[in-house]
Amino acid sequence: MRHKSARKWFNLLMLGLNSLGAGIAIVIVCLMLGYIIAHGLTFINLDFITGSAVPAGQPGGGMHNEIIGTLILVGLGSIIAVPIGLFTGIFLSEFGTPFTVSVVRFATDILAGVPSIVVGVFAYAIIVKPMHSYSAFSAGAALAIIMIPVVARTTEESMRMVPGSMREAALALGITRWRAVVSVVVPGALAGIVTGVMLGVARISGETAPLLFTALGNSFGYSGLGSPIGALPLQIYRYALSPYKNWQQQAWAGAFVLVVLVLIISIAVRWLSRKRRV
């Protein structure tokens, strides 16, 4: 009898702790979103979306170039990372031997754990330094390095969720292994793969540290992959630290735009993964 009531108390305690944890998480999200939305909405205007940066102290201006820059960088990062991540994931799930899988998985795990500032320094050392220029390309490459393990892991996991009977069905029809993977397994895992890509996009669209060493920033707008490029997180970082009121306000508006972007992606991911479960 005694240990039964002890178990009851333990259950109650765990339930309490769990609820507390969940509650804190929700409060943090609400506070942060509320704060950013409240501030951002106050300062966001058409000029912010369409205008370019103005010299310090002047009124007006916006982050048009940085918004475009972030879209370009995220696109660039995705173009590099999606195929590599996809092939890595497909290899891990379909073609690797136990040994090669453990090696490749170890490598992607390490890559996933490397702090993004280190990735930035690395991209600086192997791309920016030799080319003697900060560049959109080096920034895209740095973001791709961060995104690859995300895409690889989710691709692998969702491909593994496709039942083996599908592969057998395809092989038994005389379909080659790679054709079965492309035409049967990948479509079966597509919702999961897309989810992974979007998680990766959400992850890199807010990265700041790697951009400090690669993108540098560029107030005059996009001027080629070989030239410095502006980006939202970078500009938010600079403006928020500046002593100028206008810039600080624009940092809030920028944070708002970035959060909305990530929010849209997260909602899309949720929607997609719900569809997958059905």
Binding site: M166, A170, L171
Partner: protein
């Protein structure tokens, strides 16, 4: 194809074709790593016949038929020794592509496994579409109709061709899988307990279908259901696990003979339900 010259009586059909068999196993052994799962099987399968493979579960029936279309080696570490002759040629001859063998020897699995991402129509033509060059859309529809009719499924799905293959009932899904296997136009169709996941009515439909298909195709069916073997097959092979845990072929003969007058004591015990 000439479908009139053969009589329909179970176990007494006359067989044509080269040397009287289309598929032949010679001293076939199947391994999973070091484990010998099937040992020394010698078996002749006559064209356009239905051969049932029966035996207690775990005796190697699935393993054996998976050797017939080179699906056995898909399992990591699995291998065979011995020969499997298809039209007189060993399908394990070095240099022969297992993929080409599987277009000649189709397979239907225990659990219906239509591709859930494809429509009913796409499922039927999947083998054709993914093994060769793409055909025209209209051609696809003709092919799909032809084989859905052969699989006795057309009337039930002709208004559902665009729906997912997974939306059909279990029995329909299994007939869809049969249509999908037929569409590759194989010579032999292997069926591994195709009815074990189905209700009795769906089971009877598939058995009827099999009798019809045997006019054009050679069918090998694994079943744990002896009544089913008795109902559909011309020939029956009885397998059992030996003391060394390796499954072997105990007796092979005409179905009526195996069921009424088995030569081996173990066959008799199994048939009469004394074990297994």
């Amino acid at each position: 194809m000439d479908t009139t010259k053969q009589t329909e009586t179970t176990g007494s059909r006359s067989f044509s074709g080269n040397k009287g068999y289309i598929l032949k196993a010679e001293n076939l052994r199947a391994f999973y790593g070091a484990f010998l799962a099937v040992k020394d099987v010698n078996l002749d399968i006559k064209p356009k016949s239905i051969t049932a493979i029966i035996g207690p579960s775990g005796c190697g029936k699935s393993t054996l038929i998976r050797c017939f279309n080179r699906m056995h080696e898909v399992t990591h570490g699995a291998r065979i020794s011995g020969k499997v002759l298809l039209d007189g040629e060993d399908i394990y001859t070095p240099g022969i592509d297992p993929v080409s063998i599987r277009t000649r020897i189709g397979m239907v699995f225990q659990k219906p496994n239509p591709f859930p991402t494809m429509s009913v129509l796409e499922n039927v033509v999947a083998g054709r579409r993914l093994t060769s060059v793409l055909s025209k859309r209209t051609e696809m529809e003709e092919i799909a109709e032809k084989f859905l009719r052969q699989a006795a499924l057309w009337d039930e799905v002709k208004d559902k061709l665009k729906q997912s293959g997974a939306s059909l009932s279990g029995g329909q899904q299994q007939r869809l899988c049969i249509a999908r296997a037929l569409a590759v136009e194989p010579e032999v169709i292997l069926m591994d307990e195709p009815c074990s996941a189905l209700d009795p009515i769906a089971t009877l439909k598939i058995e009827d279908l099999m009798r019809g298909l045997a006019k054009d195709y050679t069918i090998v069916i694994v079943t744990h259901n002896m009544q089913q073997a008795g109902r559909v097959s011309d020939m029956t092979a009885f397998m059992m696990m030996g003391d060394d845990r390796a499954g072997g072929l105990i007796e092979f003969g005409r179905t009526d003979q195996i069921f009424t007058n088995p030569k081996d004591k173990r066959t008799e015990d199994y048939i009469t339900g004394r074990f297994g």
